[in-house]
Amino acid sequence: MIPLDIRVQADPFDYGQECGRFAKQSGRIGAVVTFCGIVRDTEAGTLQRMEIEHYPGMTERALTQIAEQAAARWDIQACTIIHRHGPMAPGDAIMMVATASPHRADAFAAADFLMDYLKSRAPFWKKEITDQGAEWVDAKDSDEAALSRW
């Protein structure tokens, strides 16, 4: 089993530091792909904060299953998923994934797969708070449709 580092946390994380550490692993690793999701402001710039709710227990379980599926399909040597919950400000890092593999194609594909599955299968819910009030973010049909790519 390859090293899976799955963290669900309220605390912020340092994306640069995580990427640096992840890229320093030794072994059959020739490529690292990382992705970071960030709290996006509204077009009018009115977002005060975002709150992310999750389902403790199921979240960790779902993320582990998704990472294990990726590891079974592609030659990845390491995988990190960090996802925050709780209140966040515009520009804050919400989550990241990192994959390491001997060659880049597997690292890219695995990271893309992780993101598609994480969006629709891991129990997180986003709520946007603006000066107009609070609103739950609707799931996009395109996110569900993206799963059929795999």
Partner: protein
Amino acid sequence: MKRDILYFAWLRERVGLPRETIETDATTVAELVSELAAREDRYALAFSDPGALRVALDQELTDFSAALGDAREIAFFPPMTGG
């Protein structure tokens, strides 16, 4: 049988609580939803469009036709929006 029912996101807000333990004879998710929706207006409103909801039995996603079996924890929530 006693089951823990969990609600998340806007469903939790509409029902007005995050979890409760209920005694139910329902054998499938769909039966449980009908039973819950018949309880009070806030439940009826929360479950008015089950097609817009997702369900997990003991933390595994499933569908509304699934048998409850021995599941201890049944969670209802809107489609997920992580990432």
